[in-house]
């Protein structure tokens, strides 16, 4: 092959490569999203629920908005992303230049999203919307989503953690009902452990399960260590507190309950409260939909630890993505989606942050399985509750802490030493 022909071949290959690159760039890039569309726009909200009831309600609200604002919005689509991979999928959409206009966000990722500039400040839009009654939204519910005067998401769901109890197993194992222990001040983690261990000894199955922990999602243990007044890091997020005496005591209690008392199933063991072979489980009230009536049950508040009784809520916020095509139209829709009337509808499934709706009567409509007394427990569990741990660098802290905590889940583990190792591993990440 002559040099000329070789050069021509090379140039043609470069040409094809350039064409390919251009085509890919055209496919993946899109415009920068700074220019709002002239006509009515299509909005897209990512959610992690796949419930037809939930999605049906969302669509009903969205259809009403589109009918009222045909010049602003032509459609609203709710896109379900599986719960397990939700944040990963959302950030992949952002990386791929295909951001949604609105997105649900876990409380654990809230500081990361708030501080990064990924979300739009919606305070002015929400508070400035006629009839929104912004003051009705609980201040404590908003804290996680605020940065100075800016508000970056609306905490539409504040689902408390409570203890579900299988009263059939308690009766069969001749154990006291936790509801009876509350009045006497005897509803403690030690009591929960002892009742669970006794029921396992008598009936087999599992005792106490912190649902969804599975020795991986360690932030769910906040429902336990709250009783010891422990927290994984300081309030400003800069200092690890896994090695604090309170946290070590709480983790030692848990480790002892697993490996010495056999009150809590060990790692790698499957146990499902809703299948009926588990005595009690700490989980959110939304899980009640898994109850099929095959056994009798009750709910009670989280037990008290040696220091205090602390209520924990899992929050979910909905925010407007700054990288979206139509942030103002999305913010306007958010104001409609969460106005007092629609919040009342949403509270059928999601405990609301609005104080006027936080009562047993409102919650009863969406939770027919609960008695009025049980709903009182739910309401009490939301008021003044602490939100699950979150951090501006949560993804890395979460994964690193999980890996370091693995050494704790064996019978002969030195809890204090592992806790110190956890701090050594995550401290640089907390400092950012």
């Amino acid at each position: 092959m002559s040099p000329q022909i070789r050069r021509r071949h090379f140039l043609s290959m470069v040409g094809i490569g350039a064409l390919g690159t251009t085509a890919l760039a055209a496919c993946s890039g899109g415009d920068d999203g700074d220019e709002p569309a002239a006509g009515p726009v299509d909005l897209r909200m990512t959610v992690w629920t796949a419930s037809e009831d939930h999605l049906g309600l969302f669509q009903e609200i969205a259809d009403a908005y589109v009918a009222d604002h045909p010049d602003e919005v032509s459609s609203v689509t709710f896109e379900t992303i599986p719960f397990e991979s939700y944040t990963t999928s959302l950030t992949t959409q952002l990386a791929g230049g295909n951001p949604p206009d609105l997105a649900w966000i876990f409380e654990s990722n809230a500081p990361e999203f708030v501080s990064s500039g990924a979300l739009v400040d919606v305070r002015e839009t929400l508070s400035g919307t006629d009839g929104y009654d912004f003051e009705d939204v609980g201040e404590s519910a908003l804290e996680l989503w605020e940065d100075g005067d800016a508000l970056y998401a609306y905490p539409f769901s504040n689902s408390p953690f409570v203890m579900f109890v299988n009263t059939d197993r308690l009766a069969a194992a001749s154990q006291p009902n936790p509801a009876d222990l509350i009045a006497s001040g005897g509803w403690t983690y030690d009591a929960a452990r002892d009742i669970s261990a006794a029921s396992v000894a008598a009936l087999g199955g599992a005792g106490l399960v912190v649902r969804d922990f599975d020795y991986m999602n360690w932030t769910n243990l906040a429902t336990v260590w709250g009783g010891w007044d422990a927290q994984p890091w300081s309030a400003d997020g800069s200092t690890c507190e896994f090695d604090s005496p309170e946290m070590v005591a709480a983790l030692e209690w848990y480790q002892d309950a697993v490996f010495a008392k056999n009150a809590i199933p060990g790692p790698g063991t499957s146990a499902d409260f809703f299948a009926g072979d588990t005595t009690m489980t700490i989980t959110q009230i939304s899980r009640a939909s898994s109850l099929d009536g095959s056994f009798n049950w009750d709910i009670v508040p989280l037990p008290a630890g040696p220091t205090q009784q602390e209520n924990i809520v899992g929050q979910a916020g909905v925010g407007v993505l700054a990288a979206g095509q139509n942030p103002q139209a999305a913010a306007n829709f958010l104001a409609f989606f969460t106005n007092p009337e629609n919040s009342a509808s949403l509270s059928l499934y999601f405990p609301p942050p609005r104080e006027s709706l936080l009562n047993p009567e409102t919650l009863a409509a969406g939770n027919p399985l609960f008695s009025e007394a049980q709903l009182d427990i739910v309401v009490d569990s939301i008021s003044g509750a602490t939100t699950k741990p979150s951090h501006a660098n949560f993804a890395q802290v979460d994964t690193t802490a999980r890996g370091a905590l693995d050494a704790m889940w064996s019978a002969d583990a030195d809890v204090a030493a592992v806790a110190a190792d956890v701090c050594e591993a995550i401290q640089p990440l907390l400092e950012g």
Partner: protein, 308 residues
């Protein structure tokens, strides 16, 4: 006469040139789909990844800043990356040795003219066509602390280990699950190679008094060495690409004991949103795969029949 001759001499190259152009065009048309595919899905993404690896890309903040070789410098001091390289080394070593040994052993066994060999060939090949995630989920149940394999062992009074919660057994578990998933494919490749070994050579060796082991090591193994090279390259590359199995079965744990390089890369990109750093790790992975493949290719002359 002269003019006729010259016309004839001038016409032939022209016709040949036109024929060559048509021939070249046809050739380009045939290779175009493959070339375009390779450009779109290999060359361009590879170039893009190298470009991304020179940037700090914060997806949430929507920033893309050129940092030069910073991501590569960070890799030098990243202890977790070093742990993942060691995990990858153990995983790949385990998978390659066990897979090649087992698949060759099975191929030799199933190459015998014995009743039921077809059934066993199907049995060992079936996992290859089973969905990887379904396969892994089933193994997840089998490797639980109180069920599956341990439940079976308990029937005989044996307490099995908590397979996926111990650093060593977790690594052994993921290696075994990976090997059982793909051993059938390598077995078929070896079986095909074994069946192409000329019977007359074996017969001649047998007449010369060579025993079964001698015939295997001196005739069979050299004759199937080209397939061995192919299987070795495929298995090494495949072991370095393993992701779904780790994600579903161990999530990289316990600790970071099964966080192999690809899983660490995924975690950096899609969990930590460090797309620039993850791109640098993927360049490292590319270099490792390329180096190992070239190494095998370069050393083939020493051990692959027909290559010396």
């Amino acid at each position: 006469m002269t003019s006729i001759t010259s016309t004839g001499q001038a016409g032939r190259p022209q016709r040949r040139s036109a024929w060559r152009r048509r021939d070249a065009a046809t050739g380009y048309a045939f290779v175009a789909p493959a070339v375009i595919g390779a450009l779109a899905f290999v060359i361009v993404p590879l170039g893009a990844v190298i470009w991304y690896s020179l940037h700090e890309w914060n997806v949430l903040a929507n920033t893309f800043t050129f940092v030069g070789p910073q991501n590569y410098q960070d890799m030098l001091s990243d202890g977790a990356l070093h742990d993942s390289l060691i995990a990858s080394l153990w995983f790949s070593l385990g998978v390659v040795v066990l897979n090649i040994t087992l698949s060759l052993f099975l191929a030799v066994l199933l190459n015998q003219h014995l009743p039921g060999t077809t059934l066993f060939r199907v049995l060992f090949f079936t996992p290859v066509v089973v969905s990887l995630v379904a396969w892994t989920i089933v193994w997840g149940f089998l490797l639980q602390a109180d069920n599956g394999i341990n439940g079976f062992l308990a029937e005989f009074g044996i307490t099995g280990p908590n397979w996926l919660r111990n650093n060593v057994t977790a690594m052994i578990s993921v290696i075994v699950v990976q090997v059982f998933k793909n051993v059938g494919l390598n077995m078929v490749l070896f079986l095909s190679a074994l069946q192409s070994v000329p019977e007359e050579i074996q017969e001649a060796a047998r007449l010369d008094g060579a025993g079964a082991w001698r015939r295997f090591f001196s005739i069979t193994l050299p004759m199937i060495s080209p397939t061995m090279l192919l299987v070795a390259i495929l298995t090494v590359v495949g072991s370095l690409e393993t992701f779904a199995l780790i994600d579903v079965l161990t999530d990289g744990g316990p600790g970071t004991s099964t966080t192999v390089l690809v899983f660490y890369l995924y975690r950096q990109a899609f969990e930590f949103n460090q797309f620039g750093y993850a791109s640098a790790i993927s360049v490292l992975l590319f270099v490792i795969v390329l180096a190992l493949t070239l190494l095998q290719w370069q050393t083939r002359k020493r051990w692959v029949f027909h290559e010396s």
